[in-house]
Symmetry: none
Subunit: 416 residues, 2 copies
């Protein structure tokens, strides 16, 4: 079976915005064995949108329309779907009350225009929105289904997962899909591909994809078969040689990112962690605390952006800063040691570097070339190991993200 | 004038690939004053593609089709355009010789199938490809133009810049584009729209768009006129009443985010800033230091995730923590005061809250409901003001992003 995805909104037709919802929906549909054969982004134009929906509903089994469900005049999706399918819209008092209630909880009064969000296409099933005001709609038209979903990605994801997937599973002939994910750190994307492509290129099923994001690599293998046993055996056949080829470069076999892998290891050992950051400015702490439950092992962090903060808060000796400069192995070591001593944590990570783009890093960073980062790991045996890396990039955000990834990778290796 | 962009290729319909050519083309077209009203990604399906092209050529001035020009059977673009426009294709010996020559230079023999790339739609102008084998085509059909361009981004960019822009400049009436951006904080998207839509709805030109992201709102106005003076005066006409209606809710008139606006104000006053975070776990510091040059005013931050860290590092009294719990105005105040006293910064921001999803926040956070955040701002007059907010979300990342945005907004108001 096949599907078309239509994203609605003139704001997605500029040179700097992309529609990411369709990527999520595509993944979900592919997991059911449904192929996406076309996708569209249509501006806030009722007629053009209605034409696109009409055409899609003629040629594809599923049509998923996202966005354009807000309360304002330029939110045209409900009207366009109604026009394309030749159906009326009905005001639903229950939805309207739900939206009013949501506003009340935020101590606000629902603006009158939000009532537009309570209009429902005749014959549609309502899809509850647990993260926003606009409900979705599920409309069966003969053999086709048209789905209307909200545009904000977190609303759409929640609704599609909760409401659409189970309905789709009743319609789509069952296909067993089994996925394996390896997460890999410490090598480049092209080295990874060169290492494993001779293995996975021999197979069309499972399909293998490599994803790379700021130094974090993922290998996704997806087998689609009639039975679970068949899919698992296919995966075993391909994954065995991949695991052998990559060895300890694989840090996770279940898709977990490094911050979760580390969190589990620290929890198992009843160990705690503290962080001292300069170049990454809080980004490493932010990533560690993105994990619910991280308070079990994460004591906290120090963002020491000035020399004085490094000295006063972490106890980095002033003369060491003068001698080596803030971006140096000696300072990475002193920061990690200082953070650990200061807090009594089992482990401490430090990062100092120059993230660029110019001479505008933390105080003292300008003495080092752009892209240079030193990482220190202080552990329970009182030793501190330092690592360094130069990234050939003057993209501040990228250097910072790469540095945080590398720091987590280094700690993870220490915990092995 | 307006345009539709059609990217061809089933490989762009997976969950991990996006079509970036359309972003480049959109930028180029917008610079000429041509608006992109729809874009499509169509798999390698001749009929579906022909239908999409036919519809686009009926409703838009320019149709740009990219990709699907390779030599193989699944490269369907030439055939689909011919079918959509009802024109024949003609073999062009000159193109074929050019491709053969290209192969010869690479010491290879042209495979017979590459001759397909020398087929030209009747009446088309040929667009030279200086980076690859497949030439482009420029087809005038009555008032419309259909362009066929190669899919590889470097080939497309070069061809569009060299061959299409000058041709377009002859057709498109010269137009000046002027943009203004207001950034707004402290209100909801629907309140913003309700406040300003009575103003901007009266105008089709300038076009107004509202963008919302984690509590940060942007109003984009784009005027397209024959002269610069005309565009500026149109913008003045609409922006004046919008500025009056929003008043101090506007924090930037040039598109800068809050972290840059605050950075400028602190720099002007020779003031410094320190941050003490709990629920946001480093995210506020990370955002402040994302600005190159932030070391001029940002001393650093404390991520105090445990009660002990709050007490030992920031000097928050233990009995205060016991009495009020970690998520309370009293602790927000004590954290801000402690961070400021500890470092001598002019200003300090603190954040304490429960970002959810469950009871897994920083130590002590579980006593407060999910979504509750307290923010403290300590200033040079030694006073501390606290603010609080409840977000009706159990999405950890969103609550944390909203909290950081609100904290920056509160400091910015203090700096006004």
């Amino acid at each position: 079976m096949n599907a078309e995805i239509i994203a609605v909104g003139s704001e997605m037709l500029t040179g700097d915005r992309i529609d990411t919802n369709s990527l999520f929906i595509t993944d979900q549909l592919n997991n059911l064995g449904v192929e996406v054969v076309a996708k569209h982004v249509i501006g806030d134009d009722r007629e053009r949108l209605a034409r696109t929906i009409r055409q899609a509903a003629r040629s594809s089994d599923f049509v998923i329309v996202s966005g354009g469900l807000g309360p304002t005049e330029d939110d045209v999706t409900r009207d366009a779907v109604a026009a394309a399918l030749g159906r009326a819209q009905v005001f639903n008092a229950g939805i309207s009350e739900g939206i009013e209630e949501r506003f009340r909880r935020m101590k606000r009064v629902m603006p009158e225009i939000n009532k537009r969000q309570a209009m429902v296409i005749q014959g549609a099933e309502i899809l509850a929105n647990d993260c926003g005001t606009a409900p979705g709609q599920w409309i069966v038209t003969g053999k086709q289904v048209v789905m209307i979903l909200p545009g904000p990605p977190h609303e759409l994801k929640s609704m599609f997962t909760r409401e659409c997937m189970s309905r789709l599973a009743h319609i789509v002939p069952p296909l067993v899909i089994r996925t394996r994910i390896f997460r890999v750190s410490g090598m480049s994307e092209s080295d990874l591909d060169q290492t494993i492509s001779p293995i996975y290129k021999k197979y069309e099923n499972p399909a293998t994809t490599i994803l790379a994001h700021n130094g974090d690599l993922q290998v996704h293998l997806r087998a689609r078969c009639a039975t679970k046993a068949e899919a698992e055996s296919l995966l075993d056949e391909v994954c065995g040689p991949i695991e052998t080829a990559l060895g300890s470069l694989i840090y996770s076999r279940c898709g977990h990112p490094l911050e979760i892998v580390i969190g589990r290891k620290l929890t198992e050992r009843n160990a705690t962690l503290v962080v001292a950051e300069s170049a990454t400015g809080g980004g490493l702490s932010e990533r560690i605390t993105s994990v619910p439950g991280s308070s079990k092992y994460f004591l906290g962090g120090f963002v020491t952006y000035t020399a004085a903060m490094k000295t006063e808060v972490l106890g980095v000796p002033e003369d060491l800063l003068e001698l080596h400069g803030a971006v140096s192995p000696a300072i990475a070591e002193a920061m990690a040691r200082g953070a650990r001593n200061r807090t009594g944590a089992t482990w401490a990570i430090s990062i100092t570097g120059n993230a660029g783009p110019g001479t505008d890093g933390p105080e003292g960073a300008a003495q080092a070339p752009v892209g240079v980062v030193y990482i220190g790991i202080a552990g329970p045996d009182e030793s501190v190991e330092t690592f360094h890396r130069i990234w050939p990039s003057s993209d501040r955000a990228r250097v910072r993200a790469f540095a945080a990834q590398m720091a987590l990778d280094m700690l993870n290796r220490k915990l092995q």
